[in-house]
Amino acid sequence: MRSPHQANGTWTVEHVAALAAGPAQFAAADDVSIVQRWSSGWHSGDALWGTYRGAANAEPYEVVVDLRPALRDADVPRTRCTCPSRKVPCKHALALLLRWVRGDLVESDLDRLPDGAASWLARSAGSRTTSPPAAAAASEQTTEPGDQPAGDEPGPAVGEPLDAPPDLPPPDDTSGRDERVERMVAGLVELERWLRDRMRSGLADPSLASYATWDHLAARLVDARAGALANRVRRLAGLVGASPQWHGDVLAELGMLHLLARGGRSLPSLPSHLADSLATALGWQVRQADVLDGVPEIDTWDVIGRSDTREDRIEVRRTWLRGRTSARLAMVLSFAAYRQSLDRSLPVGTAVEADLHRYPGAGARAIVGARRSEVPAIRPSGMTLAAACEAAGASLAAEPWAERTVVTVDAAVTRSAGSWVVSDETGSLPCATGQRALGAVLGTTGGARSVMTAEWTPGGLLLLSVHLDDRTLDIGPRADRSFVEAA
């Protein structure tokens, strides 16, 4: 398959996904991006244009994308489409961008541009150079950080696609920012009202068994630019009826939503690091460029675990690193839509000397910057389960809404009361691992103690890797290879 980088050097499908108003719109765009639906598709250095055929008797749509804001000003591209949709960008514009990153467009010069599109492109250039606030407003329209298709906390990780194009208004554009804050706060007020209604009517209300109930709430949070919270609500929907103790699991998560909603309405009064974490957990994005501008944390980073999860139609990969000197944890996220590839540059069991740039707040989310050299990996030491609980508690105290953190333990996998547990002399914790990973651990350790890295979740430990003397086994949940390539 052709790499997106072959076509344009920088943009990837993830960038396009980040422009979509949500996974549903991105999926719709993906559907209409097939070549049979287009009678033409061109690209020049600065613009894309094409004609979408649509239904047999329908009027074709002229679609134009002005790339200059993205290529020169690190802004989002401007789009124009003759379709009746009021969404900006519409699915046809996203589809054209998808075709571009896949290398499906034919290179051309602007002479082939239809007249209307050419004049729009000229006006677009004029407005961009003469009116920065307008450009910021366009950015506000076209990219909704909260609506990003993926997200899996801990904390600031929520809803933030890796390498997403910048989508916050410039710092001096306070009007756009204020408008977004107002929308988000209104959404949080509505969320709290919804939660209180649920408390009044009770969790036994049959409507909670319907996914539509949760999806509707999630959609409203997306409208409020709190997409990360929306993703969390959708995950919560999956807990209903999922286990015998689902009432408790759902209630605890509703409590976390209450905490987030309340915290979100009090952001200005919170300490800055807590406010940063919370804002990102709600769906407020940070420009990747801003993260990379921060002071790097230089260390040798051991890659200790990996875990893939499906978020609606996006596969999310969490790669966990631990600093050899600092012992600090970091988490690198990558995202892949259907038929795209997840990041494989940080294999479990390797180590890299690199700059690490952390996102604001107390979360572990980070970006790996300059990589100096790969160094031999070392086997980490494992802690007791009691110490692991302490460590997880400390991590959660810094970021109370986090859904997971990571620990490395020296313990054995065994059974207790009919369930799989991880145990040592200090106690035992539930094992939330699937059969394949359990078999990998048992087949390697024979039930003996070993050093293992696991994600700590409210449901128990999810085993990610087994550290042997000469190798590390990567046993974390892996993306379905029929969905993403080269998982």
Binding site: R200, A252, H258, A412, G427, L442, P458
Partner: protein
């Protein structure tokens, strides 16, 4: 039912979030949440840090309704339970499997297997035979992948069971995995199954000395004696030829010019030769 405006009461017993009374309090919160505050009022928190927090929340926030108070209590208690999570009592370790002092299958060999099952599955039988002959055992992740891959192929599953040794029965018993029935003797099991060879050309090739073999393969390609559909036969020849011929073959095939007749097939066959060589080398026993 409307709540009365009041300070939360605090039960006299209880303390931290993991104490029995805290558990009972959480259970009671679940019950109230299930029924709804229209039917039942939130319970009184046991005295302790959680009660202090919810008291502050209710008072400072001015949350007077039962539903708002229930949410405050639930959020505080859920957070406290996560922060204060402690291990349960230690569990008895599993009875260990019979000892197996063989060394792990080399990392390179594991990587080789993962490559060839994707690209050159016709080499897998030789990989399994070589692994058994080398006397290594698979790590658990490789074992699970092998079992999953050969879940319906009895002969290969038997080979995997031979390779894994006693751990496979032990693991299967604990996880409820199906075991293949005992098969034929190992020497029969590891014998590479026959694969189709071209009756006129390939059999002669398979019997040739390495240098002759390499030249003959290139000659066959150059003469276009094989159609595209027949390329599979040459692949089979390369999969079964003497390992000592592989380097000659790969070198000769790599010399075929890009625009020469059969160049595409030569590139594919060279890749196969390289993969097989790497596979054999990965066990440290290439010959």
């Amino acid at each position: 039912m409307n709540a009365l405006i009041e300070s939360p009461e605090v039960a006299p017993d209880g303390g931290d979030a993991s104490s029995p009374s805290a558990d009972a309090y959480w259970d009671e919160l679940i019950t109230v949440a299930l029924l709804g505050t229209d039917r039942r009022r939130p319970p009184v928190p046991p005295a302790g840090p959680v009660a202090d927090v919810v008291t502050d929340l209710d008072l400072v926030r001015g949350d007077s309704s039962d539903d708002a108070r229930l949410l405050n209590h639930v959020a505080t208690m859920a957070l406290a339970r996560r922060l204060a999570a402690r291990p349960g009592p230690p569990a008895t370790p599993l009875a260990p499997p019979p000892p197996d002092d063989r060394s792990w299958c080399p990392v390179a060999a594991v990587a080789s297997w993962r490559t060839l099952v994707d690209d050159w599955p016709l080499l897998e039988d030789e990989w399994l035979a070589r692994a058994i002959a080398t006397g290594v055992r698979p790590s658990g992740d490789l074992l699970m992948d092998l079992l999953e891959r050969h879940r319906v192929d009895v002969r290969r599953r038997q080979l995997v069971q031979h390779l894994a040794g006693s751990i496979v029965g032990w693991t299967s018993e604990h996880l409820g995995l199906a075991m293949a029935p005992a098969g034929p003797p190992l020497n029969q099991l590891v014998a590479l199954p026959a694969i189709p060879l071209h009756p006129d050309v390939a059999i002669d090739l398979a019997g040739a000395a390495p240098a002759q073999f390499a030249n003959a393969v290139v000659d066959v390609l150059a003469a276009d004696a094989f159609s595209g559909a027949d390329r599979r036969l040459l692949e089979h020849v390369l999969a079964r030829c003497a390992p000592s011929a592989l380097s000659d073959v790969e070198r000769q095939l790599s010399r075929v010019a890009d625009d020469a007749r059969g160049a595409a097939a030569a590139a594919v066959l060279a890749e196969l030769a390289r993969t097989r060589t790497a596979m054999l080398d990965s066990f440290g026993t290439s010959s």
